[in-house]
Subunit: 365 residues, 2 copies
């Protein structure tokens, strides 16, 4: 009897413990995952974000969940990260979904869209505006889910050997510009070129190409474009706030204890903040250095911006007609964007423009 | 010998285990902390952020680290959260440091400054621009450290019974506006009033006050101001991007295992993103409803903005002369802001203005 009572009491206590803290019943497992990035180490703000993420996950899990990071090309070619996660070669990828727009043009929206949301708006759409649900639904077809892991902010419009003064100046222009942006510019007569980052400089120098877009001042600076294509244009309307994604094999994600899913999520969001913050700190300083070295800063003329926006709207319509997934995401994204722009016109943009004008006035004195 | 060899081997293995995963030696402790907020439950975007944070910490730590959340007034009065953390009544507070500017005016910068950084810039300054180091140095005097836990974005300029058409219209205006903004407006003849949120509506209705600022459309909507003060002004130049802080007793922070400090940090950053995202989703929708109910949207005239900016610059100088800590933070903050505004004028603001103008043109068609 004594023994039976003891067993009953022990079972009761165990049951109570299970009710209050079910997950503590089993110790959390030791795990090692491999994550392949689409970005090289030289893009240190992006790749540094991945390293920060992995470090944070290890810290949070007390060294139990180790994520080993690999830059582009080490485990997997840069543009095959989604495939590698899909076929289970790696548990996780660090990439941008728009790189895979050849598979499905709707994959662009998790990263950005031309004439799209700014960095904060993209995050709001993704995090609280219904965007992540739509994007994840899309990735499900590849057996993948995602977390946000940074944003570059609005990128620059690239480096040009000659000034762009009108829409006509775009005709026949050989420009290193990829994906969606290339397709839009084709409408305006640009001849888009796909060239790896390391080959841009010699191509501009030799005149094999007339222009090249890359990222923003901090990343561009390292490649020295100002020496061979001094006109640095803004804004990069095709990347108004490009989000980086962690792509996780659903099979692996689903097999994780809840605590590890929570750890990955929180660490990803921290990285998401820090990557944008680092770009924000580094870009203005890099731009100042570039200007000292003779970079000639230019803005695309209004006529060029208008023509690009028109071509974009046409492509978005064409794509919506072809791809129902694209249409679904674009419709949702566009409605959100209109709301955001209306709201930004009230307080954010008004405040921002006041500040910028005040600074210009002060610097003229 | 055999036994000695075995012990040596075992010790070697243990030593190796310690080297690779030192923290796993001791199991992580069960902890319960209490966090008091300066915000009521009715400010559900802010307070909801705190609840999300506590939930995430519990998930990450597998139910071991429980953070109990208390809205303003339940454990501690709204404006005494810093004091309660300082004197050890609670382990953590959820507040905004500018509420304590009576103790030290330099505490304003962790939240915002008048004519200051926008939300993303504030985050960049704090996270990667050296801001958090300066702010934490200041909080150290109170035995406190901090983590970011949200931002409201640029707030609105408040509700006015009559239109503000010139600087003269501010003279004698009784306005519910607190802290730093109140002091600046006093320079322009405004009579600042300190009134709890619940008393604003009857005060406006009776005409005891002429105007009141609160937060933005989503929070303001609940209080029904449009019925008694229909002119809704923008922008809230005194809160251009107000950051929420988690304030943690240093004694408690230092006693935490590294894994828990990492968990709190990552969860705080996730909350930081989500609070801003929720405001961004909710504010435009609330503004649309307010406009349908007769709210008259107005912008402060350029002359009023200029006068307020001038008064702000004077106060910032006066305060810098009085308080060396304020001077140190303001100098750092202002240099960062100038860099940011220069950079935003190149790509971000240009892109934003293009989008807003395109939307306006489209809606006129």
């Amino acid at each position: 009897m004594q023994r039976r009572k003891f067993i009953q009491a022990a079972t009761g206590a165990a049951a109570a413990a299970v009710l209050t803290a079910p997950a503590q019943a089993a110790a959390l497992p030791n795990l090692t995952w491999r994550v392949a990035s689409s970005f090289p180490k030289s893009l240190d703000t992006l790749y540094g974000g991945l390293e920060q993420f992995a470090k944070r996950v290890a810290e949070i899990t007390d060294g139990k969940f180790i994520i080993r990071t690999f830059p582009a090309g080490e485990l997997v070619p840069a543009f095959q990260v989604l495939d590698a996660v899909q076929n289970g070669t790696i548990e996780m990828g660090h990439s941008a979904t728009y790189l895979y727009f050849g598979k499905d043009t709707a994959l662009t929206f998790e990263t950005c869209a031309p004439f799209g949301l700014n960095s904060r708006q993209q995050t709001a759409w993704y995090d609280a505006g219904g965007g992540s649900e739509l994007c994840k639904e899309l990735l499900k077809d590849y057996g993948v889910t995602s977390l946000p892991a940074g944003n570059t902010g609005c990128q620059m419009g690239g480096w040009f050997r000659k000034e762009i003064k009108s829409v006509e100046d775009l005709v026949g222009l050989k420009m290193r510009v990829g994906g969606f942006a290339g397709r839009i510019m084709q409408k305006l007569g640009v001849v888009p070129q796909q060239i790896p980052a390391g080959d841009i400089y010699p191509s501009l120098e030799k005149g094999t190409i007339d222009a090249a877009e890359f990222v923003g001042p901090y990343d561009d600076e390292k490649l020295g474009f100002e020496r061979v294509a001094p006109y640095y244009y803004s804004p990069g309307w095709w990347e108004t706030g490009s989000q980086v994604s962690l792509l996780i094999g659903l099979k692996h994600w689903d097999s994780l204890p809840n605590a590890y899913r929570a750890a990955l999520t929180a660490a990803a969001y921290e990285t998401h903040v820090s990557v944008q913050s680092k770009y924000d700190v580094r870009n203005p300083q890099a731009l100042a250095r570039l200007l000292k070295r003779g970079t000639k800063l230019r803005a695309f003329p209004q006529s060029v911006m208008d023509a690009c926006a028109k071509a974009t709207a046409e492509i978005m319509q064409e794509e919506s007609a072809k791809n129902p997934q694209f249409k679904k995401l674009f419709t949702h994204y566009q409605r959100f964007q209109n709301e955001q722009n209306q709201w930004y016109s009230v307080a954010e943009a008004r405040m921002q423009n006041f500040q910028i004008n005040a600074l210009k006035t002060a610097s003229r004195k």
